[in-house]
């Protein structure tokens, strides 16, 4: 394999290993609650086994060796030689972390803490009883593939049938590998060797399909194998060997002789014809023909009056039908998922975005040429298709939030232990899907919010009991769709916010004046102010006061909002509202002079007119009367320094954010516009008030306004003008 292919397979292994580690972690935590559950123990073992096997295959020998040590312990547990215990689980969880560290180090990240690894190894080794019998087999499996295969075979023993007991079962294993087997880095000789270690065997390679030199593709596998194996180790040990090829290969394992008494009595085995029929190498019906020189059995039965025509037909029909169903089911199962690098998806989303832009242009032109009905209908069709393509593409990027939620279980477990709390994490709406990038960017804020919950929200068990609550606190993570948004809530049944302390802190930090009247809700939102923290102690976990501010900014960067509700003594609910997609928003297109701007439709409440009369009524101040409320507004032409003449009648678009409303005065409101967001280049990125740009149907650029910024400025202006 070339260097590039190697890298690609190594990257795939890293991704798969990461997934396996996540599964492993969650299985281990499940096991904590029921140390005897054999299903979970098998799951853990298989995950470790896969990490080890694939690791050694792709050159991650250190990972393979480490996983091997943990696997050893779980093999003992699986075989009931030792029991699972809390300590083993703790060590195993630490091993997961260590393996993750090794994978990162292999990518060029921080080098791994060898002492930590050694400590874990030693800890695990204590559980392994002094039985040398296990070691040699395991060692061979963990051997690096660099060892020449020929060396392994040089130690091969001749076929030995001594010592076969009744517990031994004989299997027929047909292994039809995928033609890509070699390209996937799999060495079939190693697998056959593994099979042979299970017991006496007969191996037959089918070479009929190998083409001549002028036709052969040298890296393609044309060989398939039949292996007859007698072993007492059980069918699972056979399946384990084929674990990482079973998806792409055709593997059949049939029991030929199960060692039971009635089979042993008859030393004669099946006739040749039966074997062939069994293997599907010949057609049963045709075999009958050959044997009997007669017509097919169905006809024979009908002719001899032993069966009616309809019954035979029906039976044949049933046979065909069931076979067809089984075949189809197999196809469906195989078509499950496909891995795609994110960067390809991003490119696809970009292209779809540009398509939407051009399609808008097409629609615009076709609308202006109304008499050309053919063009009109084509434009409509294109609009329909690109809209569906757009929805489809964005949905590909949608990932259920459940995986993020699961990651937090480990966090909650570790934190509760560290802080001496008992916490039960519940989740709702794990199947709710969000854009992949959004989920990634939500990770840190959610981590911080959960930490806060456990540190400040949930009380220690004694305190909870004293106030009549259950000793175990509950944190609920919930996610749900609401229109074009996703709502994520972090709900705890802890102590809730102490509004008096919040108020005091806010006053001392100058966020509000001592005499200011504030609603409880307004007070609660203050916890998101920079530097705000009412924690009396700065713990390792939280209390530095940087967290909540950063959380708010991260959510706002996603064009979302964060809100907190709390009841003293009962608990706190933090609600995040995030738009479903970052790339395209519904916007309101407005015009000032000859310049176009977009306001996100999600913040637009309404539009009011601003004529000479309204200006007079406001005594020249920038206020407009909206059904009795005086709403401050900013004029875009003033804000951006346009020098032209103001039209007589302007429009004020009322936008809202949190509890504030402001108006944005423009010359014209054009209408709704589906906006593909394009980011501004580096040079323009720091312009205040503009968060991006889009290209209109006719090619003009419209700037997307950063409404939060505008609101801040408007409020500043208003304060200044009062002073």
């Amino acid at each position: 394999m070339s260097g590039d292919k190697q890298d690609r397979y190594r990257n795939t292994y890293r991704e798969e290993a990461a997934e396996l580690l996540a599964e492993l972690e969650s299985s281990l935590m499940e096991l904590e609650h029921d140390l005897q559950d054999m299903d979970i123990i098998s799951r853990v073992f298989r995950a470790l086994h896969t990490i080890k096997g694939s690791g050694s295959m792709f050159g991650f020998d250190d990972v393979a060796e480490f996983a091997h040590d943990v696997e050893n312990v779980f093999e003992l547990i699986r075989n009931k030689k030792i029991d699972a215990s809390q300590e083993i689980i703790d060590l195993s969880l630490k091993s997961c972390d260590h393996i993750a560290a090794m994978l990162t180090a292999a990518e060029g990240g921080e080098p791994v803490d060898a002492d930590a690894g050694e400590a874990i190894r030693k800890g695990l080794a204590r559980f392994i009883p002094e039985e040398p019998a296990i070691k040699p087999v395991q060692k061979a499996q963990a051997a690096s593939p660099q060892k020449s295969q020929a060396e392994i075979f040089a130690q091969d023993e001749p076929f030995a049938t001594e010592g076969i007991t009744c517990a031994d079962v004989t299997y027929r294993i047909t292994f039809h590998p995928s033609p890509e087997l070699f390209r996937q880095g799999i060495r079939p000789l190693l697998m056959i060797d593994d099979l042979k270690r299970l017991g006496p065997s007969y191996v037959f390679a089918h070479t009929t399909d190998i083409p001549a030199l002028d036709e052969i593709e040298p890296e393609t596998c044309y060989t398939h194998w039949d292996v007859i194996l007698t072993t007492s180790k059980g069918i699972e040990s056979i399946k384990d060997i084929f674990m990482f090829v079973e998806d792409d290969s055709d593997i059949r394992i049939d029991v030929l002789d199960d060692g039971s008494d009635d089979m042993a009595d008859n030393t004669e085995y099946k006739k040749l014809g039966e074997i062939l029929v069994d293997r599907g190498d010949i057609d049963a019906g045709e075999f009958e023909n050959v044997l009997n020189g007669r017509r097919r059995i169905g006809e024979f039965l009908i002719e001899s009056g032993l069966a009616r025509v309809r019954s035979v037909e029906s039976a044949l029909g049933e046979q065909r039908h069931v076979q067809k169903i089984r075949k189809e089911r197999k196809l469906i199962d195989q078509a499950a998922t496909i891995r795609v690098p994110s960067i390809k998806l991003d490119r696809l989303v970009d292209l779809v975005g540009e398509l939407v832009t051009v399609q808008a242009r097409l629609s615009q032109i076709s609308n202006s040429r109304k008499r050309d009905t053919e063009l009109l209908s084509i434009a409509e069709e294109v609009e329909r298709l690109s809209s569906e393509l757009h929805d489809n593409t964005l949905s590909i990027r949608m990932v259920p939030i459940g995986t993020t939620f699961s990651k937090f279980r480990r966090l909650v477990r570790d934190l509760s232990q560290d802080l001496g709390r008992r916490v039960n994490l519940q989740t709702q709406g794990a199947e709710t899907e969000l854009d992949k990038t959004v989920i990634e960017r939500l990770n840190d804020p959610l981590v911080h919010l959960i930490r806060n919950c456990i540190d400040h929200g949930i009380e220690p068990p004694d305190v909870r009991e004293a106030s009549g609550k259950a000793r175990e606190g509950i944190i609920t993570l919930s996610a749900s769709h609401a229109g074009a948004e996703v709502h994520i809530k972090i709900i705890d049944d802890g102590a809730g916010l102490d509004l008096d302390t919040v108020r005091a802190k806010a006053v001392s930090q100058g966020l509000i004046g001592p005499e200011d009247e504030t609603t409880d809700h307004e007070l609660m939102q203050l916890i998101f102010a920079p530097g705000f923290s009412t924690a009396k102690k700065v713990t390792d976990v939280s209390g530095r006061g940087v967290g909540m501010d950063v959380v708010k900014r991260s959510i706002e960067a996603l064009r979302g909002t964060v809100d907190v509700q709390s009841v003293r003594g009962a608990g706190t609910t933090i609600t995040l509202k995030i738009p479903l997609t970052l790339a395209i928003i519904e916007g309101l297109l407005v015009k000032v002079q000859s310049n176009y701007f977009i306001l996100p439709l999600s913040v637009v409440e309404e539009c009011v007119e601003l004529g000479a009369k309204e200006i007079r009524q406001a005594h020249q101040r920038h206020l407009v009367n909206v059904r009795g409320d005086m709403v401050p507004y900013i004029r875009l032409r003033e804000r951006f320094g346009f020098n032209g003449e103001r039209p007589e009648m302007e429009q004020v678009v009322i936008i809202k954010a949190d509890a504030s409303r402001i108006g944005v005065a423009v010359d014209h409101v054009i209408g709704e516009h589906q906006t593909v967001i394009k980011s501004l280049s580096r040079i323009y990125k720091n312009i205040r008030g503009v968060s991006g740009a889009t290209i209109l149907g006719d090619g003009t650029v419209a700037l997307i306004l950063d409404t939060l910024r505008l609101i801040e400025e408007a409020e500043m202006d208003e304060l200044n003008s009062l002073a």
Binding site: E151, T208, E219
Partner: protein, 120 residues
Amino acid sequence: MNFSSKVNDGTIAFDGGLAVEDSAEIRQALMEFVNSVDAGVIDLSKVSDIDVASLQLLCSAHKYALKKGRALRLGAMSEFVSAAVKASGFVHSRGCMREMDEKCFWLPQKVAAAAREGRQ
């Protein structure tokens, strides 16, 4: 490349490890060799390592030779190769194409003979 090959007097001798990474080159070497002789011998006595892809190529070379109406046989085999051939299940008591039966590389008596040669 992990291997080298030398053609001398109707025999091609491979040296080193024959693995899938070099399969394109091995194929090339075999093809040129078969095209250049009427009756050829493949010497594997200095081969230290061999995998299924290379065993396939040997099979393939034989089929190619027959296609071209030439003779090809396995000469000496190193211990490693003979062990690999046996372990991989490539030893057949009959050839895979009826016409080729007695000529098949992998007949046990031929493999045993080649192994004996290799030991000398």
